[in-house]
Subunit: 342 residues, 2 copies
């Protein structure tokens, strides 16, 4: 019998829970028989959704969790107090080895906190980075870190570069991925104190293909496969990507509707235009892994639809098959393991 990838899925997380989450799980198990999904959440609600579909009953199991962590709750308090929430119950399943991975479209803060407090870090990993894939002109790049690790240190960034490199090579299949650090110029003498301290460490780091600095303007062009930065900068890049894409598309649509002739033109051009914009649509890339934990934790967009959930589940299979955590344990610099932080 083939090995199953077991995914604990937060049925209550995100704007479209439980409807789209349940649908995403059903679509995943109907497409592949090497997955088992635990739908963790309020049993009555989840079962009512499940009743709409036909699927192999052995591949989906509902795990009851009466509480829900809301988006606005302070993460640390929510994770500590709501022991019966879908998030805490599901992450405990990963901790106990009952599931290989946890996926949630819920509160980012709670996922980041729960990942560290419940699932726990791999020994030697100092900070687990959140690493979404962002679309570029030539494909996708991994932006690492976009999480909650504010005021990171250079040693953290070196670990991000290593983990990101392993992920892109083994999950995305990009051989010898180009690793670059975000800087305010292409020249290595530029930058803030953190970047200047990190650059020589990245040059000295074996097993990664460090190509130097990348300016933000080169990111959308696909200038590197692994884009290393501390979380504040990563967050700004990720959110500006989102905001600017939607604003430009909005502005362009408005422009196309401004005259009768351009309206006709727009009608003719729209199918091709939509197909193109689809390539810049984050939803098709599944979720963002929180790397360096004892198990996989994946954060998907708060507004995830079923397709994003299904893709995130498939991503977990590759992550397990490629033994990403085994490779992280083998390759990451853990010289400073004794200086681990809480």
């Amino acid at each position: 019998m083939q090995e199953m990838t077991k995914v604990a899925l937060d049925a209550m997380g995100g704007d479209n829970a439980p409807v789209e989450i349940v649908k995403g799980a059903v679509n995943a198990v109907n497409a592949r028989n090497d997955i088992k999904v635990f739908l963790v959440g309020q049993e009555t609600l989840v079962q009512a959704e499940l009743a709409k579909y036909s699927y192999n009953a052995e591949q989906i199991e509902v795990v009851h969790a009466p509480e829900v962590i809301e988006m606005a709750e302070p993460p640390v308090i929510a994770i500590r107090r709501k022991k019966q929430s879908s998030m805490v119950v599901a992450m405990n399943m990963v901790k106990q080895g009952e599931a290989d991975a946890f996926i949630s479209a819920g509160s980012s803060g709670a996922i980041l906190v729960g990942g560290q407090l419940i699932v726990g870090r791999i020994k030697g990993i100092r900070r687990p980075p959140l690493a979404p894939l962002i679309p570029t002109e030539t494909g996708v790049s991994l932006l690492i870190d976009c999480g909650a690790n504010v005021d990171a240190k250079s040693d953290h960034l070196v670990q991000f570069a290593q983990m990101g490199s392993i992920y892109m090579e083994n999950v995305l299949g990009i051989k010898n991925p180009r690793v670059a650090i975000v800087n305010i110029g292409a020249e290595e003498e530029k930058g803030n104190a953190l970047v200047k301290e990190t650059i020589p460490k990245l040059h000295a780091c074996e097993g990664i293909n460090f190509t130097g600095c990348i300016e933000a303007r080169e990111i959308p062009k696909g200038g590197a496969d692994v884009i290393v930065c501390e979380a504040f900068v990563g967050n700004v890049i990720l959110k500006l990507y989102e905001g600017l894409s939607s604003t430009l598309i909005h502005v362009i649509k408005g422009g196309l509707m401004s005259t009768l002739v351009s309206k006709i033109g727009a009608a003719l051009a729209l199918p091709a235009l939509k197909k193109t914009l689809k390539s810049f649509d984050g939803t098709q890339y599944g979720g963002a892994p929180l790397l360096g934990l004892n198990g996989l934790v994946v954060k998907t967009h708060g507004n995830s639809k079923c397709t994003e959930i299904t893709n995130a589940i498939f991503q977990c299979i590759t992550f397990k098959e490629q033994d990403i955590n085994g490779k992280i344990k083998e390759h990451i610099i853990v010289e400073n393991a004794d200086s681990e932080e809480e």
Copy 2:
């Protein structure tokens, strides 16, 4: 007789010097008679360009400067050694009061260094920020700081907020401009150490309309008039804006050309589309002022054409008429004037 605004223009700076720079100066003086432009650069070259146009000879004067600071030169060394460069000669004219303002499309680094070393800071201003206007869905916002002030402190950011506010109110005519600080969440308890330290100081700062934190995704929507951040983050925002806009436009054009039907549609829609994209085109907003100096220093894009130069010259008139530096001197917190930095 009306008062003239005197502008020292670097005729040798940027990709299109001296052709577009000279043309920009001629267009400016032909449009308004309250400007005098000093074209600073290699006299023979500049005169040869000028000979192509007709204009009021009293409004343009060529000032010979045999040396040129190249884009790749280390800024501090270039400014210190090339005393006869167009940049150093022109900035000295501002220092001596022979010109009100200096404009250059040349090396940003050299402009920033020269601004501080030659023109000099207003007493009490700790770091002069570079503050470009960026396009938004509803107009423009001032992004402050995008300069070379790495590892800024909270007191610097408060001064940026004040100077940016004065600029937007008096040069752009936006009453009571909304000031926001870039953060990784809308909530004030989020952020890195610098942002957390700055927020209460901005709340306490009189004379500005501080509206709280802004996430990067709200910037293109026009979520604030003055966007405060330290220079590394500002640089990332500015360059990602540039890169993502050009990539998306490129990708969209490619998509429109993909089928015959969409090609016809594109041909019909193109005039409206171009007009729309023009509203997201940085060139129409003139240059970025380097605020807080004893005189105005304006940096325009390296690839500036004549229109951008002309607009930058007009911007200097408003800056002088509105006595921006007088207002900065009057309003800026200078409590820590004794702790000024070099």
